[in-house]
């Protein structure tokens, strides 16, 4: 079965090519101090800054809008509740990404144990939307066929647009390992994708 892969063009189409510009460290340190003290305004600023990225990271891992939003909210709640233990050795977004990744992978493992499938109820009934949803499911299935370590590296690179250095910091692994994981992940992804389509 040949699957044509074309999503409707929108403003956010090539999001992965946009570099992730982390805010200046000093300004963020001040913001974090205020958030740690319980300032709702500071927490609101952090939320506004990162909510879209965190939600989309969760979405690329979980492939379900509801699950992704819930996981992203949980990640922010965990981060804000444990700000006291955040020592500032890594940047806030690296830490937040790590929390989100762990939460999503935890959910994913659980749903695998419970043999839950994709969000089939999100499939629209007719037309282009249906084709688009099928294409999305095919991508999700292909990604899920990859081992967890390779999948995460590939998502962070191709869907989140992180550099090797940033991926290394989020996953706490050397850059050489990132490179070899990406190489293997792309090779396997291509094989699986060609099999699917």
């Amino acid at each position: 079965m040949a699957i044509s892969f074309s999503f409707t063009p929108d403003a956010t189409r090539n999001f992965a090519t946009r570099a992730f510009a982390a805010p200046p460290r000093d300004a963020e340190t001040q913001l974090l101090q205020e958030a740690r003290a319980g300032s709702r305004v500071a927490q609101g600023v952090l939320l506004e800054r990162y909510r879209e990225r965190v939600t989309n990271l969760a979405y690329s891992l979980l492939h379900s809008r509801d699950d992704a939003e819930d996981a992203a909210q949980e990640a922010f709640a965990q981060a804000f509740s444990s700000l006291q233990s955040f020592r500032g050795e890594a940047s806030f977004w690296t830490w937040l990404y790590r929390i989100t990744l762990n939460l999503c992978l935890h959910r994913k493992r659980r749903s695998k144990e419970n043999c839950e499938s994709f969000d089939d109820h999100e499939l629209p009934a007719h037309g282009d939307a249906e084709a688009e949803a099928i294409a999305r499911l095919t991508v999700s299935r292909t990604l899920d066929a990859l081992p967890e370590t390779l999948r995460v590296a590939l998502i962070l690179r191709e869907m989140q647009g992180l550099s090797y250095e940033e991926i290394a910091r989020v996953l706490a692994i050397p850059e050489g390992t990132v490179r070899s994981r990406l190489h293997e992940a792309r090779r396997r992804f291509r094989e699986l994708w060609e099999d699917e389509s």
């Binding site: 999503f7 927490q43 909510r51 690179r157 792309r186």
Partner: protein, 209 residues
């Protein structure tokens, strides 16, 4: 698989970074010089570039979602709930730790071993070394290795875990007695009552008739 020369092996590590645009300018120039001369490395780079292009085109156009308008409110509500219940925080962390493969394996093996030990402790009688001078208590006598507890040692039976064991034993004993009494009694003639005659032709040994 084709064996690489040491030079090619060194450059092959950089191919992925080169295709990704992650290589420093100096290293990039070196690699390009090598690629101009080495056909096999060039072919490998084409393959890697193809893999990159497919991953980029498929995953790069995966749709994005915008968080719902009540996202911030929900997060702040969750933070407030956590502040009210520190136990929730702790349970979440514990849950997250034990969902990972290695801690999960260790946790389940540890609990399995613990369960096994509890079973062994519950169902096996305590065995003491024969030379060990253990004080015998009247309620629970020790089962000394090499000796079989006798019926007279009534407290041993009291140690049993079957409810109403003493009553059951009495019942079994009564049934056995009845069974024995019902069995027709066969009078066994002792061997020495048999008629033994000594024939004059036989030797001094007697023969049974």
């Amino acid at each position: 698989m084709q064996k690489l020369s040491p030079t090619c092996r060194e450059y092959s590590r950089d191919l992925e970074s080169y295709a990704d645009g992650e290589l420093s300018q100096a290293r990039r120039r070196d690699l390009e010089n090598h690629l101009a001369l080495c056909k096999s490395c060039d072919a490998r780079l084409r393959k890697i570039e193809k893999n990159c292009a497919i991953a980029k085109s498929v995953l790069g156009s995966f749709p994005r979602i915008a968080p719902r308008p009540d996202f911030d409110l929900r997060v702040l509500a969750k933070v407030a709930a956590r502040q009210q219940s520190p136990l929730l925080n702790f349970c979440d962390r514990l849950d997250a730790v034990f969902s990972r493969p290695l801690p999960k394996l260790l946790g389940s093996s540890f609990s399995g071993i613990l369960f096994g030990l509890v079973l062994v402790a519950a169902f096996l009688p305590r065995v003491a070394a024969p030379n060990e001078a253990t004080p015998k208590s009247a309620a629970t006598p020790d089962f000394v290795a090499g000796t079989i507890p006798t019926r007279a040692d009534s407290s041993f039976y009291a140690f049993g875990r079957i409810p109403n064991e003493a009553a059951l034993l009495r019942q079994f004993a009564g049934e056995e007695k009845k069974r024995r009494s019902r069995r027709p009694s066969v009078k066994k003639e002792p061997l020495w009552n048999a008629d033994i005659s000594v024939s004059p032709h036989s030797s001094s040994r007697g023969s049974l008739c």
